[in-house]
């Protein structure tokens, strides 16, 4: 794939800490919130989205290079910080894309401030206690195996991470899940105070689920669709939880057709 954009790296000071951001493209702003494993740099999804939008990819507080807010105890704390980031950057009418855990944070943001967010996209997002099935608990399995379960199958996982045990990516995940354990240990990956607020969110929302998601049950997607007044759901065939890794172009097209 040819590189259309070279992302620009910069930092923003927020609540006494630093937020690291990668950014590229022009057009309506589009903020991407990463999985609980953290963002692995500028990937094909971001590149594709940057063809039509100004794409902003922060490391959420406590993840990767951004400062860990010692006081944070809840994904809602991250949501507040991410809204402060939007305000501080003067961003309005943003298309907010949340991948996995980032989608949980994005849903929390949407319940707090609909003015800054023009469109919402939740991809395999937890946040609701699944009516059926269970969210895969990353704390009780090897973290490499957790990532492995994010892919539709072993072959695809091996394609991306052929030498996981010796890779820096593995230690990045180990580092990042400390923050996840600080804000999301219990209840694991959902908030009982989120669903009652969702009917008040009128932002047009696109829900995307990988057909073979083994991490976040699709019953959660259907629950989001039931509770959000302006939501539709798209199933990506043959993708697992990590739709952004496995089907970046399909996902980019879905987001672009929904985005500002």
């Amino acid at each position: 794939m040819t590189t259309h954009t070279a992302p620009k790296a910069h930092t923003v000071e927020l609540a006494g800490g630093e937020i690291h951001i990668l950014e590229a493209g022009s057009g309506p702003p589009l903020l991407v919130l990463h999985h609980s494993t953290g963002a692995l740099g500028w990937r094909p999804l971001h590149e594709k989205l940057a063809e039509t939008n100004r794409v902003i990819l922060p490391d959420m507080p406590g993840y990767s290079r951004s400062t860990l807010p010692e006081w944070a105890r809840d994904p809602r704390d991250l949501a507040i910080l991410m809204l402060q980031l939007l305000r501080k950057q003067g961003l309005r009418d943003v298309t907010l894309v949340g991948l996995g855990f980032g989608g949980f944070v994005a849903a929390e943001m949407a319940t707090m401030n609909s003015d800054l967010i023009g469109r919402l996209v939740l991809v395999g997002a937890p946040g609701i206690k699944p009516p059926e099935g269970e969210i895969l608990d990353q704390m009780l399995i090897d973290h490499g195996d957790y990532m492995r379960m994010g892919f539709r199958d072993e072959k695809t996982f091996q394609k991306f991470f052929p030498d996981l045990e010796n890779s820096d990516v593995r230690s990045l995940w180990e580092f990042n899940r400390v923050m996840t354990a600080r804000v999301c240990w219990k209840p694991y990956m959902f908030n009982r105070r989120l669903p009652p607020l969702l009917p008040g969110v009128e932002i047009p929302t696109l829900l995307v689920w990988g057909e073979k998601d083994r991490v976040v049950p699709m019953s959660i997607g259907r629950e989001y669709a039931r509770l959000l007044p302006n939501a539709k759901i798209e199933i990506v065939k043959s993708a697992g939880h990590l739709v952004d890794y496995e089907e970046p172009e399909k996902l980019a097209r879905l987001i672009q057709s929904h985005a500002r």
Partner: protein, 467 residues
Amino acid sequence: MLVGYFTERPYQDPKSGLFGATGKDIQDLSLSNIDYDAMLGADLYNRYLDEKVYCEEMGFDAIMFNEHHSTPFCMGGVMNVEAAIVAKTTSKVKIVLNGNILPIWDDPLWLAETLATIDMISRGRLVTGWVRGTGRESVSHNSQPPFNWERFQEAHDLVVAAWTRPGPFRWEGEHYDYRYVNPWMRPYQQDPHPMMMIPGVVSRNTVAWAARHKYPYVMLSTRIEPTKLSFDYYREVAREEGYEAGPEHIGYLWKVHVDETEELAYETGRKFLQGPGNIFLEGSRGVASPVLQNLPGLTDRNNLLPTGQVGFVAASRGRSTSDADYSKPRAAATRAKAVKGAPKAKAPVAKAPAQPPAAAMAASYDEQLANYTIITGTPKTVLPKIRHVLETLRPGSVFFWDGDGAMTHDDTMRSLRLFGSDVLPAVKEMGDELGLISPFDRNPMHAPPIKGGRRAKAPAKKAAAKR
């Protein structure tokens, strides 16, 4: 010298086929309690409690309990209940709890009340230790690993305050909030509170913390040489704090089995490594779950004692013995590198060879006998070996670990009887001869200040500032 007895109270089920030479290995937290037999549990609890009473009759100064959760190797999931029972069924022995797992308590004030009650019923015989727990405990009682050390320290401070500070007062900490701390009970021991002992195996933080508080530190069945170095570290911190640590600040627990003949002792001692023994111990048939030992933020894996460098200890805790840990400075560089380049799809490469399993790195039974982490024999032959350990480590408190693994009640009672008739009197004489002062002979918390301690003046200053 204080001489105590300890067993983990294993859940021995000969029908299960899960343990011992005839059974299969188990991985930590891999068993369902559907197989738990409460009739058997009733027998075992009563057996272990009876053995404790017999320990007192045989002349032990102390009986030690520990606590683990969701595991067959230790039935002490509610150690304080056992302690409360022996508080009433014994009259002289110290009741050593090593220890309550502070971070998993959401209401440590209740713990302060529980322990004060035990101290009163036993008329001041409680020795209360504190531990951080392993990953198993954090998972079983769902306590956030990243806050484990903070909660340990704050819960301890709260318990001590509840015991020593006149109530009512308000407690508003980082992890615990109380609007009314005023328990209607106070511990029997008030100089300044019940005796404490802090057990440990690998964490430097815990040693330093114990030394700063002048609490005796007890090493649990670690190899002799690194144990000595870990005690040196305690003494080093003590000197920084402005006092000289003596034998009263040091304790050691290790496996000693006494029997009627050399042969019987040797064969019975082998049972330490059979049955549902503690998975962290050398030769155990159990396997620690690496996932549980590496819960996010639970321990600082680069802040280990010399005991933690022993290959077996590292492997049994699911830790790499190589430089593969994620210390903060290293992680910063790693993180920067990891996020810089998005991984590209690559051709699969061969996997790195796996770490040798803990079992393969463990010393065999005979090796452990040779390095004295297990001592077996007749009273006559165990005494010189015990003396060697006492001379090398100079602990003011020792605990003999026996009656564990696959040992039966009869095995245990034979050993306890011989301890009483022929071993304990001689060991106590050795302790006197070697000047191994126990914490009950000289209160470790009243260690006098020394000249030239690097922080000799700092604590006084700090205390003044607080007032």
